[in-house]
C-alpha cells in the first residue's frame, strides 16, 4: 500500500500545536545520558596520540615502552587497522582519517592510541610512544593549494571533471560546472557589471558535547558501541566495514546528542575505540577533549570566491557568474560543488554559470555543517546582489523580488522548481515591521536570502500498540531537533489519540532496518512520512480486529477520532471500539498490533529564507553588535512551531557567530592556534539580540502534511545579511568573513 501523500487533510487536530517536549525534564535535570555518560564494568580509558605536524612522513613508530607501562592494556597504530576497504576510495579515506598511515596530513591527525586502566596512565603511555617524523612542506590555504608547485598532499588525486583526466596528481580534486544560458552575452546586455572577490575562513559547528563513545568488543566478534552520533546505522556500517565485522554483529546505540550540525555524521575516533577494545579485550571509553574536537573532527571549508553580476537599470539581472574554490581538508570531497549548486538557487536568471574547484589542504577533513557550503556561497552572492541593487538605486528586497525564482523556474543547478517560498519570504520581509523601523546612530540594516536542498532518504519506523492501548514508536533517525515530539504528534494525529498517549524512542541498530543519518534536514520530514505510514497500517490492522470482534466485513469498519466505528444503518446500535478495547482483546483476535514502515522518503521540498539584520558598528574600534534580527522561512508545515522557531533562531545564532568572529587560525607552522572556545569565539547569550521568527507555510506536495525540512536554511543568509548591514552602518563593504573588529576597523580606515 503506497503512502498517500496527497494533502487530503487541511485541518489538523494536534499537528501545529506546541506540546511539551518529551526529553525536557531529563535534559534540564541532568538525567539524560549523553555520549560520555555510559559506563561498563572493567572499562578502560582510551586516548589518542595526534600529529603535531601539518604534514609529515611517519618513518617509525615505537610503542614498546608504552606497552610495557603498568596499567596499559592496548596500544594501536595503523597496523592494527589493516586496509579492508578493497579499493573503495571513500572508505579508505575514512580509515586513513581515523588513523594516519604513511603520512600525517594535518595538525591533530591521529597516529596512535592507547587504552589503560585510568586517564593518568593513558596520558603517561602517550608520552612513551616515540614517533620518527620527516616533516614535509604543508599548505593550508585553498588558493595556495591549487597553485602549481604547491606541496602535494596525496599522490593519487587526478582532478575529476577535466577531460582528458590529468596524468599529474595535484591538490585539485574536482572541477564542476552548473548553469544555463550564455553568460558572456548576458554581461554585454547589462548596464552595470558588479565584480567582487571574497574569502571566508574555516568554522566549526561548535556543538557543546564533544565526541564520546563506549566500545565493547567481545572475543567472539560481537560488539557494542554507545556513541553520540547523528547516524547510528551509518556509524555501524562504517565501523563494521573498517574493522572487518559483519554489520549484524555490531550493535550501535545512539546517546542523547549535545549538538551535531553535521559534525557527527562521520566516524572519527569510534573505530579506534573499537580496535582498542578488541585488542585489550575490555570495554574502552573514549572522550575527545575540546582541543581534539577542533583539531581532528570535521569543520566546514574555508573558501575563496569570485562573483560577477550584470544588471540592467530596471533591475533585471542579465547574467550571473561565480567561481568557487573550497578546501575539503586533507581528503577529497565536493564541498565547492555544493556551493556552486546553491549559489544562485534563489533566483530566476536567464544566463547563469557557476564553476567549482575543490581542493585538499593540510587541515582536518571537512564535514557537513548545517546547509554545508551554502552560507559561504550566499555570503558572496548576497553581498554582490546588494551592490548591484545599490548600483541601480533599487530597494534590495524589490530587486530580489524582481529576480526571485518561482514555481516552474529552471534552477541554476538544473531541476525545475515546484511550489517554493522565496517570493513569499521576500514579500513578508518587505511588509515586516522590522524592515520599516527607525535606526540609531552608527546602525545599518541589511537583508539576504538563502536556499537549501533538503534531503529525504532511507527511513524505518516501528509502531506498537501496547496491551493497555498506549502507543510506542521506535525511530531510526536520532532526535537532534525535536523529532520525537514531532513523530508523536504525527502518530497521534493519524490514530486520533492524545499526544501524551504516544511515546517515541530512538532504536538501536539491531532493532530496525537501516536508516540514513539525521542530516540534510531530513529527520522530521522523512521519519514523519514513515510514522504516518506506520500509523495508517496499524489503523488498518485495528479495523480488521474490530471487524473480527463484530463479525462484520472490514469495509464496514471506519476509523474515526481514535475509534473503530461500524458504519451503515444495520450497525447503528454498535458502540465504537477504542484502541484500548481493541488492544485488550489482541490476544484473541490475532496477536499484538503493530505498524511498520520502511521507505525511501522522496520529494523533500526545497527550502528558502529571507533574513533582516540591524548592525551597529563602533567606528573607532570596528566592533559590530547585532541589534535586531528577523528570520522569515518557509516550513511547508510546522508540525511543532516552537521547535521550528528554535531551528530558525539556532541557525541565525550560528550564522552571527560565523559572520563576526569564528575562524580557524593557522600559524605559519601549519598548526591550529585557537583550538578552544576562548579563542574560537562562538557567541555567548549576551552577544545576541532576541531573534524574531516568522514561519511561512507553503506546503510540500510530496509530504502527507506538507512538511519541508527546516533545520539548515536558517544558517544560509546571516553572513550576507550582516555584511550588508555593516555596509550600511559603516559605509564599507567587507569581503572577508569573519568580519571581525580588526578587519572592519581596517576597512573603515582604508576608506577614510
Amino acid at each position: 500500500m503506497p503512502l498517500d501523500t496527497s494533502l487530503v487533510r487541511k485541518q489538523f487536530k494536534v499537528i501545529g500545536t506546541r506540546v511539551r517536549r518529551p526529553d525536557g525534564i531529563d535534559k534540564v535535570t541532568g538525567r539524560a545520558k549523553y555520549g560520555a555518560d555510559a559506563f561498563a564494568p572493567g572499562q578502560l580509558i582510551g586516548l589518542v596520540l595526534r600529529s603535531p605536524h601539518a604534514h609529515a612522513r611517519i618513518k617509525k613508530i615505537d610503542i614498546s615502552k608504552a606497552e610495557k607501562l603498568q596499567g596499559v592494556k592496548a596500544v594501536i597504530t595503523a597496523a592494527d587497522l589493516p586496509d579492508l576497504t578493497g579499493g573503495d576510495r571513500g572508505m579508505r579515506d575514512i580509515l586513513e582519517n581515523c588513523m594516519a598511515r604513511s603520512k600525517a596530513l594535518y595538525d591533530g591527525h591521529a597516529v596512535a592510541a592507547v587504552a589503560a586502566v585510568d586517564a593518568h596512565t593513558a596520558k603517561q603511555a602517550l608520552k612513551l610512544i616515540k614517533i620518527d617524523y620527516e616533516v614535509l612542506p604543508h599548505v593550508t590555504d585553498v588558493d595556495e593549494a591549487l597553485k602549481p608547485g604547491a606541496p602535494l598532499i596525496h599522490d593519487d588525486i587526478f582532478t575529476d571533471g577535466i577531460e582528458p583526466k590529468p596524468t599529474k596528481p595535484s591538490n585539485f580534486c574536482k572541477l564542476a560546472e552548473y548553469g544555463h544560458g550564455d553568460v558572456e552575452a548576458g554581461f554585454k546586455e547589462a548596464d552595470f557589471v558588479i565584480e567582487k572577490s571574497y574569502k571566508t575562513e574555516q568554522t566549526h559547528q561548535g556543538y557543546i558535547e564533544p565526541h564520546a563513545c563506549l566500545a565493547n568488543v567481545s572475543p567472539d566478534g560481537v560488539a557494542e558501541l554507545w556513541v553520540t552520533t547523528q547516524g547510528p546505522f551509518v556509524y555501524r556500517n562504517h565501523c563494521a566495514a573498517l574493522l572487518g565485522l559483519d554489520a549484524n554483529k555490531l550493535r550501535v546505540t545512539a546517546s542523547e546528542i549535545g549538538g551535531g550540525f553535521g559534525g557527527k555524521t562521520h566516524v572519527w575516533a569510534e573505530p579506534l575505540a573499537l580496535a582498542l577494545s578488541r585488542k585489550a579485550n575490555r570495554p574502552v571509553k573514549l572522550t575527545m577533549t575540546r582541543d581534539e574536537v577542533f583539531r581532528a573532527t570535521g569543520p566546514t571549508s574555508s573558501a575563496s570566491i569570485d562573483v560577477k553580476v550584470g544588471v540592467k537599470k530596471d533591475g533585471t539581472v542579465t547574467a550571473a557568474f561565480a567561481e568557487l574554490r573550497y578546501q575539503n581538508g586533507a581528503f577529497p570531497f565536493t564541498w565547492a560543488e555544493f556551493g556552486a549548486m546553491t549559489a544562485f538557487a534563489c533566483y530566476d536568471f536567464k544566463n547563469v554559470k557557476t564553476v567549482s574547484r575543490d581542493a585538499v589542504v593540510n587541515r582536518p577533513k571537512c564535514a557537513a555543517y548545517r546547509a554545508p557550503s551554502a552560507p559561504i556561497a550566499a555570503f558572496a552572492v548576497e553581498s554582490t546582489m546588494d551592490m548591484a541593487a545599490k548600483a541601480i538605486g533599487m530597494d534590495p528586497i524589490d530587486f530580489r523580488i524582481k529576480n526571485a525564482a518561482r514555481e516552474g523556474t529552471k534552477s541554476s543547478y538544473g531541476p525545475v522548481f515546484g511550489p517554493i517560498g522565496i517570493g513569499p519570504t521576500l514579500e513578508a520581509a518587505k511588509k515586516h515591521a522590522h524592515w520599516n523601523a527607525p535606526l540609531g546612530e552608527n546602525q545599518g540594516r541589511g537583508m539576504a536570502c538563502g536556499f537549501w536542498f533538503n534531503f529525504g532518504g532511507q527511513t524505518c519506523v516501528d509502531l506498537n500498540v501496547t496491551p493497555d492501548g498506549s502507543v510506542t514508536v521506535a525511530l531510526g533517525t536520532i532526535d537532534v531537533g525535536g523529532s520525537r515530539a514531532s513523530m508523536a504528534l504525527a502518530v497521534a494525529e493519524e490514530l486520533g489519540v492524545a499526544y501524551e498517549q504516544v511515546r517515541c524512542v530512538v532504536a538501536d541498530t539491531s532493532s530496525l532496518g537501516h536508516n540514513d543519518m539525521t542530516d540534510g534536514s531530513r529527520g522530521t520530514f522523512s521519519s514523519s512520512m514513515a510514522a504516518v505510514d506506520a500509523a495508517r497500517k496499524a489503523i488498518h490492522t485495528m479495523r480488521e480486529r474490530a471487524a473480527k470482534i463484530w463479525e462484520i466485513p472490514l469495509d464496514e469498519v471506519e476509523w474515526i477520532d481514535g475509534q473503530a466505528k461500524a458504519v451503515g444503518e444495520k450497525h447503528g446500535n454498535k458502540a465504537p471500539l477504542s484502541i484500548k478495547e481493541i488492544a485488550a482483546q489482541a490476544a484473541n483476535t490475532g496477536g499484538p498490533i503493530a505498524g511498520h514502515s520502511e521507505i525511501v522518503a522522496d520529494g523533500a521540498g526545497v527550502s528558502f529564507a529571507t533574513h533582516i539584520c540591524d548592525a551597529e558598528v563602533d567606528p573607532e574600534t570596528g566592533r559590530t553588535s547585532i541589534k535586531r534580527y528577523t528570520v522569515i522561512q518557509d516550513a511547508g508545515k510546522a508540525m511543532h512551531p516552537s521547535y521550528v522557531e528554535g531551528q530558525y533562531q539556532g541557525g541565525a545564532a550560528q550564522g552571527i557567530g560565523w559572520a563576526l568572529n569564528e575562524e580557524y587560525i593557522y600559524g605559519k607552522d601549519g598548526r591550529l592556534q585557537n583550538a578552544g572556545f576562548l579563542d574560537y569565539r562562538i557567541p555567548v547569550c549576551s552577544d545576541l539580540p532576541f531573534i524574531d521568527t516568522q514561519i511561512l507555510e507553503i506546503p510540500n506536495p510530496n509530504h502527507p502534511y506538507g512538511v519541508r525540512g527546516v533545520g539548515e536554511t536558517s544558517i544560509v543568509p546571516p553572513l550576507g545579511a550582516i555584511g550588508n548591514a555593516i555596509s550600511n552602518a559603516a559605509g564599507v563593504r567587507l569581503n572577508h568573513v569573519p568580519m571581525s573588529p580588526p578587519r572592519v576597523l581596517k576597512a573603515i580606515k582604508d576608506a577614510r
Binding site: K123, D291, E620, T621, G622, R623, S625, L660, N661, I665, Q673, N674, L678, D679, R681, P683, V684, S686, D687, S740, P741, P742, L745, K746, K749
Partner: protein, 286 residues
C-alpha cells in the same frame, strides 16, 4: 605531586623555599588547575594558601585597603566601600572569566599569572597599588607594575609569594576606570585594555593621573607620557587627542590570534581616552 595547605604564611614560605622541584601557589586555581588539566604544567608541589589567616579578608586600613591574596574577585564587588572608592579596580577584577570563575579567581593570582592581558592589573597599576610579598627573608613591598617580568614570568624569588594587595587612600575629587576591548560581550580575554586614575582640583583641572595599558606589550604598561598629556587640562578635546596619541605611541603589541598590531595600537588610544572620560566624570569633572 604533593598538595599542602599550611595554616601560616611562615609555613607556606618554608614549603615553597624547601621544594626542589616545581612548586606553585594555589589561591583560586583558575589558571593553575586549568594549566595542569591541559598538561601544560606538572607541579611537584602545590601550596594552597586559602587556609592561612587573613588571606581571604578585605581590610580598610589607615592607608587605604588591604586585600588578602586569596580574596575571590566576586567578593570585591560585594564590598561597598571598595566599590565606592576604587570602582575601576573592581570593574577590572569583575571582568575575569565567568560568574563561576569569579567565585574563585583572585587579583593576586591574576597578577602572578603574568599575562599582559590580565584584566585586574591595569586598574591596579593606575591606582598605584602595591603588593606585599612574603618570603624567606621576611616581607617586602613592590609596586604592582614591577611584579611581572615578562609574559608568564614575575620577579618573585624562590620561596616568595604575594600575601596581599594594598590600595592607597584616594584623594578628594579622584576617579578611576578600566575598559577592555573584546569582540564578544563577556567570557573573553582583553585584546587591548586601559586603566586610568586621576585627581582634579576644585576647578576641575587634572592635577595627577596614571594611565596603564594592557595587552600591548609583554607586561602591563604604566604610560607616563599619556598621564602627562592630560595633567593640567580639563580633559578638553585637545587633551584627549594628546592622550590618544600618547597611548597609541606607547603601545608596542604583536600580531596574534586575538588581534593585529595595527588594531591594538589604534584601539589602545581609543580606550585610554574613553577610560579617562569615565574617570574624569567619576572624579566630579564636567
Amino acid at each position: 605531586m604533593r598538595y599542602e595547605s599550611p595554616a601560616t604564611t611562615k609555613d607556606a614560605v618554608a614549603l615553597l623555599a624547601k621544594e626542589k622541584g616545581q612548586a606553585f601557589v594555589l589561591a583560586g586555581g583558575t589558571d593553575l588547575l586549568v594549566k595542569m588539566k591541559a598538561g601544560m604544567l606538572e607541579p611537584d608541589l602545590v601550596v594552597d594558601i586559602k587556609r592561612i589567616k587573613g588571606m581571604k579578608e578585605i581590610k580598610k586600613t589607615a592607608s587605604g585597603f588591604s586585600i588578602g591574596a586569596a580574596v575571590p574577585c566576586a567578593a570585591l564587588k560585594e564590598n561597598a566601600a571598595l566599590v565606592k572608592t576604587w570602582p575601576g579596580v573592581v570593574e577590572g577584577a569583575s571582568l575575569i572569566g565567568s560568574k563561576q570563575v569569579q567565585g574563585r579567581c583572585t587579583m593576586a593570582g591574576n597578577l602572578c599569572n603574568a599575562s599582559p592581558a590580565a584584566d585586574s592589573v591595569p586598574g591596579l597599576v593606575a591606582a598605584g597599588a602595591k603588593v606585599v610579598i612574603a618570603g624567606p627573608r621576611g616581607t617586602r613591598k613592590l609596586a604592582v607594575e614591577d611584579v611581572p617580568a615578562g609574559v608568564g614570568r614575575t620577579v618573585l624569588k624562590k620561596g616568595e609569594f604575594i600575601s596581599a594587595i594594598e590600595l592607597p587612600k584616594k584623594p578628594a575629587r579622584s576617579g578611576d576606570a578600566y575598559l577592555r576591548f573584546i569582540p564578544r560581550t563577556e567570557m573573553d580575554i582583553a585584546v587591548v585594555s586601559a586603566g586610568v586614575s586621576l585627581t582634579l582640583d576644585a576647578k576641575g583641572v587634572i592635577t595627577a593621573a596614571r594611565v596603564a595599558l594592557g595587552a600591548v606589550a609583554p607586561t602591563v604598561l604604566l604610560v607616563k607620557e599619556a598621564a602627562k598629556a592630560i595633567i593640567g587640562s580639563k580633559l578638553d578635546d585637545e587633551a584627549k587627542a594628546r592622550l590618544t596619541a600618547a597611548a597609541s605611541a606607547a603601545a608596542r603589541p604583536i600580531d596574534d590570534k586575538r588581534g593585529t598590531k595595527e588594531f591594538r595600537i589604534d584601539v589602545a588610544g581609543v580606550l585610554a581616552r574613553r577610560a579617562a572620560e569615565l574617570a574624569y566624570a567619576r572624579a566630579g569633572g564636567k
